[in-house]
Symmetry: C2
Subunit: 396 residues, 2 copies
């Protein structure tokens, strides 16, 4: 008799965003036609930029032509895209080479797939509140987990200590959901800790493009990271690819554990378990790394940063405490009046039709917090900010 | 210290197609500008059909428009595509419903990802010669494997017997590499065997569109399959999506093992470990299932079937024994003169510049055989057939 993986039985009942969607659907059934102000799931609202659209159309035309048609792509990524991404690092004086870059279908997919490299006996460290997929993917695999709690006491940026024992460290900066951004000092502490113990850091850099102050955007800015870190990146938030799908991963040659070179294992994994990423999408992705593409994506990012300012101003005026928003597309707010996260969710949905994400969905220590995304439509965001202020403001 | 998966250390040195590509590269370095007749790796040569191209362009335009932009897609597939695929089954009187259809990035990716559902203690059964990724993905995972040998004695279609013990059955029909196609009787024997023992069949139907005689194209044509089989399909060969990427999987509601519903587990897996497949590609995929799309893809399939006829005629004239080619895009040929597979590869590459695939790359029992793909350019295929006949023909 086939034995399914029992880890699945240890999962909690439903995935966070699935639960939110069910509540929204129920609300809509009772209020047909109601407009919702969606500051919840981190989906973008602005279309792809011109440079990407042109590249996608051109690639579709290639697929229509006998002379320019592309069949199977190299499993680890098309050279034109791997090289463009390597240059993107090299332009910041980070010595990443094209063969250390792996093209993926997105950070979410990649974070799940990468677990294939590690024995199930390895312990994963999650800093909560955390993106729920980190936890669930490891529960499914049957992996042991340890948790570090992030909170106001450490500015939502926990540091390692000598008692901590873990092999696989999830580190997300700028952080989802708290918006906290690691300093070089923070990252150096984790890199040193990982190198001392032979641990590996999975550095989720999906929001690096939102760093505007002088803070690290890549873990490879930190000396020693090339022997302990894998950086997982995405064009989802950087360039609006949430529904178009494309990401990339940097796995340095120097990353070796128990005599096994993880980059070589990953090449073997990709060549065995995939047939590469769509030629069309890779052409679209390459356009992001052109001068024109960079200029255009930052025009969109500026819109989202303006959304953040609008929401932060409303929370400031209402006297509500929050973190993030400056170098991250998320605002992590303390629910006012001692409310619970889901209580706050229901209140905002039912009273002002604003949809956010309950902090408790990111781990128990997220209870009493609430995440607002800044990826919404600008007009909706202004209206939502006004409604928040009207609901909670000391003056209306 | 982090422990990488030791299974990777048990892999053989290099993946088949990687090895072939290295030999080709070496040949090209010595013979710059030489034209090669590529009947090797199963890549297609004809561009995407008009209906698909139009749908892809339209979807790219959607991604450029604020009103029609698509962000995150449902993880298990867009309803429009899941429904189109379900109708494709229903039109053949197979009661597949849209929520049993899962959109994937392709059969290769999916066959790797699906292993996530099964405990590592489950034993996998591989019928060799086999697509090498089946074997390697299970070695990486550290899973025990048993092998059944296919050969001329069973027309390359082995049947189960009572002594056999396995939990996970890989079944590929039309077969890669042998081109053998299971009859209903064959499939029924495997379905009954799997249901009796609580095994699960992974039915790789990537080549179903090439069945032109009265043979099963889906395992769900067989009574009882809905409680023991997962069908993995691809648009790669059906519609030329090798470099565009899209596939789908049918996982029936009735598939339950040890009290765990595999379809529900798979929904949980996809919602946790992916963010869905590109909107653009799903629109392109949906066009395949329109009346116009079906007509156009079969025009391309007819070209490949004509390639098969040209190659089979040459082998017939040369008196070389082969299997497949009729209801499958592969011809599985016995190497003449007692040659080994790689010996045959080197001979054809060096003497007549024809690239095929050594049978030994599909398992030890493939030694002495050679695979010809019919996906090549028609003019190249005619020339290759002529060269094969000149090399081996009794009359020139």
């Amino acid at each position: 008799m086939l034995q399914p993986r029992v880890g699945y039985q240890n999962l909690k009942d439903s995935y966070l965003f699935f639960g939110i969607n069910q509540k929204i659907e129920a609300y809509r059934n009772h209020h047909p036609g109601a407009h919702l102000y969606r500051m919840g799931i981190g989906d973008v609202s602005l279309p792809l930029c011109d440079a990407v659209i042109r590249a996608l159309h051109q690639a579709v035309d290639d697929q229509a032509s006998r002379d320019h048609f592309h069949g199977y792509m190299p499993e680890c990524g098309a050279p034109f895209l791997r090289e463009a991404i390597a240059r993107f690092y090299q332009d910041r004086d980070l010595p990443v080479t094209a063969d250390e870059v792996f093209v993926s279908s997105g950070a979410s997919d990649e974070l799940g797939d990468l677990l294939d490299l590690f024995d199930v006996s390895s312990t994963a460290l999650i800093m909560e509140p955390a993106y729920p997929a980190y936890v669930d993917a490891n529960i499914m695999a049957g992996r042991k987990m340890v948790y570090l709690t992030a909170g106001p006491e450490n500015d939502f940026l926990p540091l390692p200590d000598d008692r901590l024992q873990a092999d696989l460290i999830y580190l997300c900066s700028p952080n989802n959901p708290t918006g906290a951004v690691c300093t070089c000092g923070h990252l150096q502490a984790w890199v040193d800790w990982a190198n001392d113990r032979g641990a590996v850091i999975l550095f989720d850099a999906a929001y690096e493009a939102f760093v505007s102050e002088d803070l690290p955007r890549s873990i490879f800015e930190i000396p020693g990271a090339e022997s302990c870190a894998i950086e997982i990146c995405s064009l989802s938030k950087t360039a609006g690819f949430t529904g178009t799908r494309l990401g990339y991963t940097v796995m340095p040659r120097k990353l070796v554990r128990q005599g096994m070179n993880l980059r070589e294992m990953w090449i073997r994994n990709r060549t065995t378990k995939t047939n590469g990423v769509s030629y069309i999408l890779q052409r679209g992705g390459a356009a992001v790394f052109t001068e024109e593409g960079q200029r255009q994506i930052y025009e969109n990012i500026r819109v989202y940063k303006e959304n953040a300012r609008v929401l932060m101003r409303a929370l400031d005026q209402a006297g509500i405490r929050y973190w993030g928003g400056k170098n991250a597309p998320y605002i992590w707010m303390k629910c006012p009046d001692g409310m619970g996260s889901w209580e706050c969710f229901d209140l905002l949905l039912n009273e002002i039709q604003v949809v956010g994400t309950p902090g408790a969905g990111f781990g128990a220590c997220g209870e009493g917090y609430f995440r607002l995304s800044t990826f919404g439509d600008p007009a909706d965001t202004r209206e939502a900010a006004g409604r928040l202020l009207k609901l909670w403001g000391k003056t209306t």
